[in-house]
Symmetry: C2
């Protein structure tokens, strides 16, 4: 029944030195095969496009290995089980996992766990929400903010890339936990959107001029920054370090400003890191996969906030596998308002 289908795929053709463009990708097709014993065949519905993807293109040590040349580009996504020879999955199940940038993911038994394939309940949230607040970005924001950041009511939480997937979870969750939420984002329109649509107390436009971040932090964080959730690194990190409150916590979650660089270690470090000493502050890295055993409880909590309206899940949905190269770059150009999702097939 499935053998007549053709699988369109996006594979890594060569490693980009800076920005990945169409020449770095190969568009391939292959026939869709039936699953072997213990395996499943999943049709991709929507894929999550994330800043971390850029790091996977570099041939450098990171928390997961790079994507190999010729390999289907790694991507998490939501799909539907089309055929199953595994008792844990039934035809018609909606699943989340590392499906890759392709229309169909054929997962042999031994690949199912590696892909992190799990059934998800569309009664708890939409496909978009499962890639956003209920997905890896939401988990990253949840555990990074709460476990590493340990925000206390009344404290000031600052998050960069505030309109993105992680940022929107962090800021809204900070508000729910009784904190002041200050975003940093690019462009006045996006900042307005962060305040109006996501309910942040303020949002600083880092594109508004050389002193904009410093002045914005001064204005909106008069008592200093208690928690900084850093998605961007670079100069913005330095500005926030200079405004840390006593005993502040900096969550190192990413450094999108540095990702379009073939060397995973950036050229400049945070000049103001000695602010950690003066302020007895902490800077700590987090990788979301470490919290996998606690995802269910976090998802349940966040789904509750989505249902009762205390949290919004905002997605920026782009259609079609073929647009993948340009859509990915929207992230680095700051073009997305909300979690960037590539819709491959309608749910």
């Amino acid at each position: 029944m499935t053998t007549a289908r053709t699988n369109h795929q996006v594979r890594l053709a060569k490693r980009p030195e800076t920005t990945a463009t169409r020449e770095h990708w190969n568009f391939t097709t292959e026939p869709v095969a039936d699953p072997s014993d213990g395996g499943v065949l999943v049709q991709t519905l929507s894929l999550s496009l994330d800043p971390a993807m850029r790091g996977w293109l570099n041939d450098a040590k990171s928390y997961i290995p790079p994507v190999a040349i010729g390999e289907v580009m790694r991507a998490g996504g939501v799909g539907r089980v089309l055929a199953s020879k595994n008792p844990a999955f039934a035809v018609g199940d909606t699943v989340y996992g590392t499906l890759g940038v392709q229309e169909y993911a054929l997962l042999p038994q031994e690949a199912i766990q590696r892909a992190g394939l799990v059934k998800i309940d569309l009664g708890m949230g939409t496909v978009g929400q499962w890639l956003n607040v209920l997905g890896m970005p939401g988990m990253t924001g949840y555990f990074g903010l709460l476990d590493i950041g340990q925000p206390q009511p009344g404290q000031t939480v600052v998050v960069s890339a505030a309109a993105g997937a992680v940022g929107q979870t962090v800021g809204q969750l900070a508000k729910i936990k009784g904190c002041r939420a200050v975003g940093i984002a690019g462009g006045q329109a996006k900042c307005d959107w962060v305040v109006r649509e996501l309910g942040f107390d303020a949002c600083i436009d880092y594109k508004a001029g050389p002193g904009a971040v410093r002045e914005g932090l001064k204005q909106h964080c008069p008592k200093g920054v208690d928690v900084y959730f850093d998605n961007v690194g670079g100069e913005i990190l330095d500005h926030v370090l200079a405004k840390l409150a006593r005993k502040a916590r900096v969550i190192v979650c990413g450094a999108i400003s540095q990702y379009n660089n073939a060397n995973s270690m950036p050229g400049a470090g945070p000049r103001n890191y000695l602010s950690l000493l003066v302020n007895r502050a902490r800077m700590e890295g987090m990788v979301v996969f470490d919290y996998a055993d606690r995802f269910p409880q976090a998802i349940a909590e966040l789904a509750g906030y989505l249902k009762d309206g205390r949290m919004q899940s905002k997605e920026d949905v782009v259609q079609g596998l073929d647009s993948f190269p340009e859509t990915l770059n929207k992230l680095f150009a700051g073009g997305n308002f909300g979690k960037l999702v590539l819709q491959v097939a309608a749910a």
Copy 2:
């Protein structure tokens, strides 16, 4: 009785841009007065010379205010009470406190607490030991290593400026707690001394060539660095960041490599800080004064190790107040083997 004495003092004449030399100091004399009601007069026996002193010369925000132009240079020291109009101190008591670089400290009642003046027991340790393992450096090493570093038996602890006051406490305490202790110091003679006299498992000579620290860490920390106690910052910090073990802890205690700089914020940050992300590691600043209420228990523990021979307290004692400018710079030239002490008067 005390009015016939003359107090020799070293005062800050002007702020150094880089290294403080003799031209940045004024040598002054003034008659020694009797204490007013509630005050004490203390004769300086020995002063602690510390890397942090260089930071106090800069007109920049730090955890304590800069020394003012014309002010007696701030210094902690051990002294003897010569005259007292305060019931908490008796003539002949040995005390520790911020006495300043001068032969006599006249402390009015309101200055006693600010100077942190406390009685010390020479039965627990010598004057030198009270400035070293039982003093601020020892407290810094103790709370930095144990509270922030949280070393577990079998883990690898690396400490820079290993032959210095803080470094010797950190490495020896790491050994006592069942860890592998690896020092970083300048020069083969000093490294040999660190291993032989202080009992470190290994010591890396950072002056041995461009790849020396990287190679040394590779050789002596095959499982990575679990705890790094950073006294120096700069390139050494970057090398250690690149070798962090999973869940490592970096204690930011100082950045002596950056201190001879009028701007308290150094020119370059740690390029490899994203190693914190990859390794889920933590970098945290500590200021010893925050632990003041726990000093007595730490001193008791460390004095026990000195008595039973499990810990050595090594001091490099230089004689005479007049040598202060050159003696201070010995720290930054790496000339000292052990805690640098300026002896002003015999005990």
